[in-house]
Symmetry: C2
Subunit: 555 residues, 2 copies
């Protein structure tokens, strides 16, 4: 049965393998929330399926459930009213462990087939997932569809491809024949067995539960581990749905369903630490705060932790041909999902002497004003703005926004926007502050949310040096520079490569620095404190399994 899944999706896997070798554009999961692609009733069906989940228990046929818990509230202003299995951890770990031998013996192809079928079914349910993601993360619908659906599925598939390639590079058998001069050669037959590390723990985040969660989930699954999914208590639903589908596919494949288990908790009684310290847990995937990521690295020593933590992303402006194209691009970047992306720029370095635009000097104040003006204009129509801004996931982000107002000169104030469809939604437009580069203590910390600083520096070079130094010390996932000077761009490349931060140069079109495309963009480098791994590369999968050999004289 599981072999059928592999056969059914072999072309998709091959496409993904080709894509990771080339890293050009590729996806099998269309990003357009279109009825022509997903079926004319898909939108309505997805919404109905979401609504049918509300205000009742989300039951999963998994063992060791102690209680049903859940207190999710949509950032758009209503309680979901759903409860999920809260586990007895001993029982959950025993179930995961018990599932391991059959999952190992199924082998790489069968496991890849199961993963591909899970992704396929997730894809077919992208509209339903979009509603689940929207009403837990606060993403606007189209973004929730794309980032929570097809783009997350892409990232999951990418992890399957890396994991599968890494396993396929280990031959299953070898014939070893060592010459012995005139005597007969020594001949040995050898088998190489792929063995997962054990139980893998995926700790989900509240803003991108599927996009950030699927890489670790699928990388661990395909390489033979059982996965316990511990969602953020504020964003359980998208991952509960994922676990449900995974368990359905496993059952149909005749494999133990407990290869994938949900562990739901609440903010008041969090389970992540207890789960992370369990001896059965050998791998942890985590996206979230630096404090907790570092806690995991320091304390969960029995496991390998892949952590994406906080960072301070930056933009340096040196020169441009067309300032309007620059500010238009930045306005979208700074507004998208109200800056609640790990890739959103926070610090915008501009020479205090201004920048050259088409041969003319434009002053610092003018450039800062042009960016703030573009952001203001982009969000001037609240009814349209909400479709990019989405809602603020956590009240803490609104509080942070209010506190940040006093940290610099306000270039653009944040305002509350009333959502036309969801009057209770927590919607805020971006806040922009102007500070001097001497005020480092203000801008070297991540202020998660729609908060950015325009920072006056002595020169674009010094801004670049300060920004990359900050990236090395405090982390950064993305950098963006604008310059018409090849020497400046070369210097930016050198410093960003050294600081381990992905650089985008002169983005003025329809690509934005906060967007990271699966199969092409490496999300995070693992080379600065913002992340200790990349989504997704060979390093992300290579240690999720081990090779154990058996040898004997040839018959």
């Amino acid at each position: 049965m599981s072999q059928d899944f592999f056969a059914a999706h072999q072309a998709t896997l091959q496409g993904a393998l080709d894509a990771i070798a080339q890293r050009g554009f590729w996806t099998p999961y269309p990003e357009a929330p279109s009825g022509r692609i997903y079926g004319e009733t898909a939108a309505a069906d997805g919404e109905a399926a979401f609504k049918a989940r509300l205000n009742k228990p989300f039951t999963l046929n998994q063992p060791a459930t102690k209680a049903m818990v859940g207190a999710e509230v949509s950032p758009f202003g209503f309680a979901l009213g759903i409860t999920y299995p809260n586990p007895d951890i001993d029982g959950l770990m025993a179930a995961a462990q018990a599932a391991l031998p059959a999952w190992r013996k199924a082998g790489p192809q069968a496991r890849a087939g199961v993963c591909l079928e899970i992704l396929h079914r997730l894809n077919r349910r992208s509209f339903e997932i979009a509603h689940c993601v929207q009403h837990t993360t606060g993403q606007a619908f189209v973004m929730a569809f794309q980032a929570g659906g097809p783009h997350a599925q892409d990232r999951g598939l990418e992890a399957v491809a890396y994991g599968y390639r890494a396993m396929a590079e280990v031959p299953e058998h070898a014939s070893w024949e060592k010459p012995q001069g005139k005597a007969d050669p020594l001949r040995m037959d050898k088998d190489y067995h792929i063995v997962g590390q054990g139980v893998s723990l995926m700790i989900g985040c509240s803003t991108f539960p599927t996009w950030n969660g699927y890489p670790g989930l699928f990388a661990s699954l395909v390489t033979g581990n059982a996965v316990v999914v511990k969602p953020h208590p504020g964003a359980i639903l998208p991952l509960a749905l994922t676990v449900e589908i995974a368990r359905e596919v496993l059952a149909e494949a005749g494999l133990p369903q407990d290869v994938v288990l949900l562990a739901a908790d609440t903010a008041d009684a969090p389970l992540a630490k207890e789960l992370a310290l369990r001896p059965e847990v050998k791998i942890i995937d985590f996206t979230g705060s630096s404090a907790f990521g570092t806690w995991l690295e320091q304390n969960a020593r029995q496991a390998r932790t892949y952590a994406e933590k906080a960072g301070v992303n930056f933009i340096v402006l040196d020169s441009a041909d067309d300032l309007k194209a620059v500010t238009r691009n930045l306005a979208f970047s700074l507004s998208l999902y109200s800056g609640q992306m790990c890739t959103t720029p926070q610090n915008i370095f501009i020479p205090r002497t201004g920048i050259k635009v088409g041969g003319e000097i434009v002053s610092f104040d003018e450039v800062a004003g042009a960016i703030a003006g573009a952001v203001a204009k982009f969000n001037s129509d609240g009814d349209r703005a909400v479709e990019v801004l989405g809602a603020i996931q956590a009240q803490a982000t609104c509080d942070r926004l209010d506190q940040a107002r006093g940290m610099g000169k306000v270039l653009l104030d944040s305002r509350e926007i009333t959502h036309p469809a969801f009057p209770g939604a927590r919607v805020r437009s971006p806040l922009m502050l102007s500070v001097d580069c001497a005020q480092t203590e203000i801008f070297i910390q991540e202020l998660f949310g729609p908060i950015s600083f325009v920072i006056a520096v002595d020169s674009a070079e010094s801004g670049l040096e300060l920004a990359t130094k900050t990236a090395k010390q405090h982390g950064a996932l993305t950098a963006s520079v604008y310059s018409t000077d090849p020497a400046f761009l070369a210097k930016a490349e050198d410093l960003c490569v050294d600081a381990g931060v992905a650089l985008s140069e002169n983005l003025t079109g329809g690509v934005f620095v906060n967007q990271s495309a699966a199969f092409s963009d490496f999300h995070g480098s693992g080379a600065n404190p913002a992340a200790n791994a990349s989504l997704c590369d060979s390093a992300f999968v290579a240690e999720r399994f081990r090779v154990v050999q058996v040898r004997r004289h040839s018959a």
Copy 2:
């Protein structure tokens, strides 16, 4: 210049890449210490070169030397009288850091070329290395030549191949073109830069300084790291020679010599901890005690430690066609280098009811006696025995041997053997003790050296279960079983794969369980406490570098 090295050795690299894909027999470095291969004067030249090193400082043109230190004593009974650079660590780290940018920018091909040229020169000097290895480790000459020379070079080349393949799998550039319906596609050019992690620390061991050291050294080098080589104070010479050659090749390639640096210390003033805790050090390769390996894992948190530690290897006898062939094979395994191999079996489980040999039951005592008798016979002629036993590297091993005598019933006592050429050599024949499986506390610890236990168990199955349980808890690199029963072998395979221990079945010919052939045998699985990594696989190299991307709109 460095590109010339790549071109010169491209066929060797391709051979290695093919070999790691197939994992059959392959080597470019002949293991026979033969004048026809290495040149008619190679043997004499190598010995003369070794002798010329004695009783003088081993100078290296490297910076930050604080003093010259060294107190190596050959296990064959004479002091080497050589001193080596003992570094000022701040200065050494600064030098390594300063070498990094040029080494990164040289790129994968140039770095591979340098590594291949170093290995080539090491190979040409295998006779010299053999003497250096013999008179630090205590290995007999032929073994010192093979394990310390060509086989170690094979392991180094294998690491280069894995590292090169992992880097080559990341495309240097990509063209990303995303369709936009009827509008023009979005087009981006992307560059992917390979960046080493930083400074890599290789902590050498006293028994296989090159064989165990080269994988980490070359894996880190090819992937763009600078390497500080910190040899065991008892076995500095082989690695000092390696560093000297590496620095010569780097200079000829026009690259910073400080990419490879030696840090010699003494037993009284060890440097490993201080080096390991340096923030510049991002990778540590270590072979040695479990205590220090665990200390590194727990304390050197800024680095990724690849550690091979202690383990308890085992043999289980169930049945055999030809007991003589079994005992002959075991006699060599138990004698080779006086059990000072991390792969030497220690625990031999035999059913107390005996084993079936050719349809007849042979009693426990008879089997135990047959093994002990074969070991005794193998070592009966001292003049010949020393060429397999070698000498005992450390006095502590002799002390352990003396203390072990009381731990069980002596099946075969150890005796001192006078080396015909080196009367001062520390030579001991193997000690074999008989214990009951209930005396677990005796045999679950590693007793490094020529000490083995014959352990009476209720059945071969229970022996297998006890042995693999011990492997999971205390580590094991090798397992060996003898059985004519396919069901027993299947069970052994399942339990050994689960315990992460490499299994050899029915070895009766010219292959021994302690031998691990590069390009074919994975040395260690990383899946039990004996090692957290394998020499060598993709996981061993994948995290030694990071990928940092730069993207821009296509022109």
